[in-house]
């Protein structure tokens, strides 16, 4: 794994490692708002950029990716608050404890319900928080890759969601992260802290206008002792957007981190998730559905680090690839010597809907202790011929049979959505894609 990069604060010039980025300059970074401490950190990150290795498909963590197609010079970091009228989808925001809209990484609006305000839940820019310096980067000492560095250098307004100890929020905190500007490189950052015995669900809706853009969001999340954090992503980016996302989640003693992902949009959309189970009895569940069509590439990397005894992880990634789309799932479960009695399951199932589609699945285990129960499974296959025949034999046309089978295939992921409206929205997105598949299939059959 390529997780061990040096922090940007250490200056050891080695020009061979990085390439000079002409548009990601100190001037652009310096124009971004924030208190001194934040500007200083950004400046250090920009100064360190020259030392950062650019991703290469030769590295395991970038293998099978389309990183060699990315030309960073086509994008310009967002240096001023965009003028855009980004709406909030009522379907998701109904009953929300808070709703925040980000545009190109800038905080555009913040709504906090009375209940959340009364419970002293802090939602807003990290810049305004007394605890800001400690909060930002607390779980992410060093960025995992170039895009993490760029986020550190060019994130205009990191958003904090801090749920105090013992507080349980009923409705979700909804964060709409929108990309609106043609040619922009956007760097949204979300910092979530779920306190001791606290409970919160955060729903991130990632959308865009029909623009060519790069977005590299970072999520940093901590779950305190016996806390319960759900974090769901609905990735519905436009067809010309490249996404390079990183999520870092630290789960404390007896706490649980539940991550959910619906990957539908983007041209190339990648999410790397690092989850560390740091306290005894910590649990992490990651459930994801993705559906690629056209020439999309959806790319998922998970690193599950069991660093304490009696920890549990459960990963389920289910995907479909149609047309000439591609998907990648690579996952590593690491069980450290102290993590005795770990239970870890990692499952990735893929359905190939077209001969030109392509799916890659590489689950790995790295176990450094005995007394663990770990499993991994991965499959890549077309729609099951026997199942399809069975449905057809009841009078259901082939394309409808395939649609039923795919809905069935994804149903356990839909059911696992932490917020019902997220499951509904995923279901709706899947059905749109399935209808497109059916239409194309029907045309092809004529």
């Amino acid at each position: 794994m390529a997780g061990e990069m040096r922090p940007c604060q250490i200056h050891q010039p080695s020009p061979a490692r990085g390439r000079v980025l002409k548009r990601f300059t100190p001037d652009v970074s310096a124009a971004l708002p924030g208190p001194d401490w934040m500007c200083t950190r950004r400046a250090a990150a920009v100064a360190g950029l020259g030392d950062v290795a650019h991703p290469d498909v030769g590295e395991e963590v970038w293998r099978y990716s389309r990183i060699d197609e990315l030309d960073l010079e086509r994008y310009l970091p967002s240096s001023q608050r965009p003028v855009a009228n980004t709406g909030v989808d009522g379907f998701i925001a109904d009953g929300a404890a808070a709703t925040v809209v980000l545009c190109d990484g800038w905080i555009q609006s913040v709504y906090i319900s009375e209940a959340a305000t009364e419970a002293d839940v802090l939602i807003g820019t990290v810049a305004d928080l007394v605890s800001g310096p400690a909060l930002l980067g607390a779980v992410l000492e060093a960025p995992v890759d170039l895009f993490g560095h760029l986020n550190r250098a060019f994130c205009p307004e990191p958003l904090a969601v801090v749920v105090p100890d013992g507080v349980r929020l009923d409705g979700p905190v909804v964060v709409v992260s929108h990309v609106a500007t043609e040619g922009v490189a956007a760097f949204p950052r979300l910092v979530v802290h779920c306190g001791v015995d606290a409970e919160v669900a955060v729903v991130e809706v990632q959308t865009s206008d029909d623009v060519g853009a790069l977005v590299a969001p970072v999520l940093e999340a901590t779950v305190g002792r016996a806390g319960r954090l759900c974090h769901a992503v609905l990735q519905e980016l436009g067809q010309r957007v490249w996404q390079m996302a990183h999520q870092e989640v630290h789960v404390g003693q007896d706490a649980s981190g539940e991550l959910f992902h619906a990957g539908l949009g983007g041209d190339y959309a990648r999410t790397r998730t690092d989850s560390r189970l740091l306290g005894r009895g910590a649990e992490c569940r990651i459930t994801a559905a993705y559906f690629g069509d056209g020439a999309q590439a959806l790319d998922y990397r998970t690193f599950l680090d069991h660093a304490a005894p009696d920890t549990v992880s459960e990963l389920l990634f289910k995907g479909a690839v149609d047309d000439a789309s591609r998907s990648v799932y690579t996952g590593l479960i690491r069980v450290r010597p102290e993590a005795v009695r770990t239970r870890a399951n990692q499952t990735n199932r893929n359905i190939k809907l077209s001969p030109d589609a392509w799916a890659e699945s590489v689950p790995n285990l790295e176990i450094e202790t005995d007394d663990v129960m770990c499993s991994h499974a991965s499959t890549i296959s077309p729609v099951d011929a026997d199942q399809r025949f069975y449905l057809e034999s009841r009078g259901v046309p082939t394309i409808v049979a395939e649609r039923l089978l795919l809905e069935g295939f994804f149903s356990e992921v839909v059911a696992a959505a932490p917020v019902p409206s997220v499951g509904d929205r995923l279901q709706r997105g899947l059905i749109e894609k399935l209808n497109r598949h059916s239409t194309v299939g029907a045309k092809g059959a004529v």
Partner: protein, 270 residues
């Protein structure tokens, strides 16, 4: 001009994995009739049922099949079902994530029938077959016992309102009570709705409850003997070897490499 109501199989020949399994089958099933096709392992019974429904993996090399005048072999499996054919599978397939209601609703929609009527039809059929309504919301056949799966097949037969049903070893995996219930439902459909039945079975016990009009003994891909109930008694007494002579001992050659031939019960006649 009225169309003659009959499921007519003429000189049907078919291969699986380049081996000829069906070597000229002739059969006619009319509305309300029950025909039993019996035969030893490897005689081609299951192949016949799969070829009639158009399961992938079989190649028809000759002959014809018409359903009330419609050329079945020119249709896809789902079109055959919409034309009025139902195949009750020996091993109903488990389909995680797909409910019975979703399946039958789509089938109704594709056939131009009222999809909203499916739920009620399901409840009625479930009642007459003694199926717990809670089972209806389970994914298709998942975690069902052998008996429950067969009741479930009979349930679908009833809701879809097929005109001809091919029952492939419907008695396998059924306990006596379930067999009686399923058979009673099928008898009812033949008597009241004029369902034509082709019951494919290894065992004579099905014939005791289903009371076929005609019994056909299949061997080496052709129908060798046809008769009435007396044939069932002869089979019971003498086994396939007695009825077919030495032909029954030559079946093993055709048993190799059949895609769907696995899973027969023990042969009591061996």
């Amino acid at each position: 001009m009225s169309v003659e109501r009959v499921l007519r199989i003429e000189s049907l020949r078919a291969c699986a994995a380049d081996t000829e399994i069906l070597r000229g089958i002739d059969l006619e099933v009319r509305p309300g009739e029950v025909h039993a096709v019996m035969g030893p392992n490897g005689s081609g019974k299951s192949t016949l049922s799969h070829v009639l429904m158009g399961r992938p993996g079989y190649e028809v090399t000759g002959g014809s099949v018409t359903l009330d005048g419609v050329d079945l072999l020119g249709l896809t499996p789902w079109e055959r079902a919409q034309a009025g054919l139902f195949l009750c599978l020996q091993h109903p397939i488990e389909v995680p994530g797909v409910s019975l209601e979703a399946l039958l609703t789509e089938a109704a929609r594709a056939g131009g029938r009222d999809p909203d009527a499916v739920r009620e039809a399901l409840a009625t059929e479930a009642g007459s077959l003694g199926i717990d309504e809670r089972l209806l919301d389970r994914p298709l056949n998942v975690d069902l016992s052998g008996g429950e799966k067969k009741r479930n097949e009979a349930l679908q037969l009833g809701v879809l309102g097929a005109r001809y049903a091919v029952l492939d070893e419907i008695d396998s995996g059924l306990d006596v009570d379930a067999l009686a219930t399923v058979s009673r439902r099928i008898q009812e459909a033949t008597d009241e709705d004029g369902l034509g039945v082709l019951a494919i079975t290894h065992f004579a016990r099905l014939l005791e409850v289903l009371e076929p009009d005609r019994i056909h003994v299949l061997s080496r891909g052709t129908i060798r003997v046809t008769g009435g109930h007396e044939l069932a008694e002869q089979l019971e007494a003498e086994g396939y070897a007695g009825v077919l002579g030495d032909a029954a001992t030559e079946e093993s050659e055709t048993r190799v490499g059949l895609p769907h031939a696995a899973g027969f019960g023990e042969d009591p006649f061996a």
